[in-house]
Amino acid sequence: MRNLFNVAIFTIKDMIRRKSFIISNIIILLIIVALFNIPNILKLFNNGKDFDANAKLLIVDENNVFDGKLDVIKEIGINGYDIEVSNDSIEYEKIKEKIDNKEYDEAIMVDSFENTISIQYIVENLMYVDSVPEEIISAISSTYTNIQIQKLNLSKEELLSITPNFELNLTQTEEKEVEGNNFVMMLLSIVLFYAIYFCAYQVSTSITTEKTSKIIETLVTSTSPKTIVLGKTIGIGIIGLIQIAVMIITAFISKTLFLEEGILDSFINFDNITPSLLVITLIYFLLGYAAYALIYALTGSTVSKPEEVQSANGPVAILAVIGFYLSYFTMMNPTSNLNEIAALLPISSPFCMPFRIMMGLAETKDIVFSIGILLVTIFIVAKVSIKIYSSAILNYGSKLSLKDIVRIYKNKND
């Protein structure tokens, strides 16, 4: 037990001193800070104007198509626009000049002929506009309709019968209710996948480094292979947890310092990030990490050169990606039966179970069953990995094939 602690502590010290580790973490933290500064960066490129500031829209109705009542549209308002209405005669060239001078961002010229109302939409470059400004067209069209209805002098009842209030009710036929914040949970699943995958990968690299530096022979005579594998797994797991904590803290500080309050509310409901979500996520991170890390311990011990690590880890990476996509597809369709399989399979359950639990899709027995399967998997993988590690680690020849690994395992069991 004491040696397990010694190996874990030594692994942590060794890892955090590596230049590659320090540099990659600094880059990740800088990316996080940069992401939270996107609005400020966009502002810089937008002549100091907020990227989300309202665009200035000029509507010109020189022929009084709207009977001089177009000002009503300002009261109705169009999301994202500050509107100015003009009934003066302004030539296209003049409008172009105003847009070029940034006096206005966009302009609309309204005219009518026969039974058609033409709307000429003028913008500096159509690339800057996401799509046809349907909201503007709809606002202009409903303003025009209202003006025309008012001309008919209808009674209140007649007016109500033309424009009734619609009440929308949604009902689902399935019993399971999906609740919570889908976006947050998907984000969490992606973060879980990368955290588990990259931390587990480090175990393989660490083992191969010890093997290639030939220190392993001294090490295996100083403590048992079991202690080395488990100690490394624990050490790197602790580093992974610290990394995630540092990233979350950096993200939180960046959000507080650089983002306007409420800007993320439309994407993320922070009320959904409860202590129970954090505990469940932590449990699945630890279990998922342990399962993948122990497989990586096995692959790491089968190679003799650092450049072979990637090819040896290839099959495990494929397994992890299948697990991730399995959980990702089920997130797209949370009530499908595939979701139940993904929640039980040890390769995918760490990524999708927190999502299912928080969405209210998993019952207690599902959680117990899924954690049980993961624990059994970890136990089996640990047993096999340690057995193969203790034999393969002193093989300095070429990379071991699957056949060699099976032979080693059988020999160890004899």
Partner: protein, 261 residues
């Protein structure tokens, strides 16, 4: 040469599985929990980025030493092996010889009763070889048992009382070194003289294996040949600085046992 030394050592230490048989030390199976052993592997390995002191402390702790006790031992052996000034340096900055001495330290720090050294002198310069030799002599004086594996027969002759010669994993010779050597008759004479004595040797119908600056190595068939030659040199009033009748060296025995096979 694939003789099977390292494999045998790995089996002794339980690093690799043996096909059959039993390996015991004082009636106990040689395992970490039963026997306090130290091991210097043939493959030189060290954590390159980690400071020497730190890795020494790590291995000392793994072998059950307390921090204070380990600190004293690290400093003591670093001083004896002349690596004190490198303790706070990353191991990769040390010369190969010093790295080897550091690795040797990890094998002896915890005061093992049984010390297994696989090619302890390979790659060491004469100064460092002497330093390591002195430490080994000190360990033997302190009652430690040493199993040494080497291709350098002179080192084995210098340190070992019992030998085992392997060839392709099979034992070709084993036993007490002196007894083994006694079984072989004297086969050469080493002479160091002040003048050229080549003619006197040839008069005795003996072959000169080697000669340089009045130093000679002469092949003999028995000790009797040696005595006769000595007598003849005395009769000729030759100024002899050294005259030694020699039995075959371990190197000769090794070549005889392994060379043809």
């Amino acid at each position: 040469m694939e003789l099977g030394k390292t494999t045998t050592i790995r089996m002794i230490l339980g690093i690799i599985k043996k096909d059959s048989g039993k390996i015991t030390w004082n009636d106990k199976q040689v395992e970490r929990k039963n026997v306090n052993f130290g091991y210097l592997p043939e493959e030189r390995g060290i954590y390159p980025k980690i400071k020497v002191y730190e890795q020494m402390m790590y291995f000392a702790k793994l072998k059950g030493m307390k921090v204070k006790e380990a600190d004293i031992e690290i400093k003591k052996w670093a001083d004896k092996l002349k690596v004190s000034e490198y303790l706070n340096m990353p191991a990769e900055k040390l010369s190969k010889g010093n790295q080897q001495k550091v690795q040797f330290m990890t094998a002896i720090l915890h005061s093992p009763e049984l010390l297994i050294l696989d090619e302890p002198f390979s790659g060491l310069d004469p100064v460092n070889t002497e330093i390591v030799k002195n430490v080994i002599i000190e360990l033997v004086k302190n009652g430690k048992y040493i199993i040494m594996s080497s291709h350098q027969m002179s080192s084995i002759e210098e340190f070992c009382s019992d030998v085992l010669i392997l060839n392709k994993g099979k034992t070709v010779l084993k036993g007490n070194l002196r007894e083994i050597k006694n079984k072989y008759p004297a086969n050469r004479v080493e002479i160091c003289s002040k003048q050229n004595i080549e003619n006197i040797i040839k008069e005795q119908n003996l072959d000169i294996c080697f000669s340089k600056d009045n130093d000679y190595e002469v092949k003999i068939n028995s000790e009797e040949d040696g005595y006769k030659l000595y007598k003849k040199l005395a009769e000729n009033n030759s100024d002899i600085l050294k005259f030694e009748i020699k039995k075959p060296s371990l190197n000769d025995i090794f070549i005889e046992k392994v060379g043809d096979k």
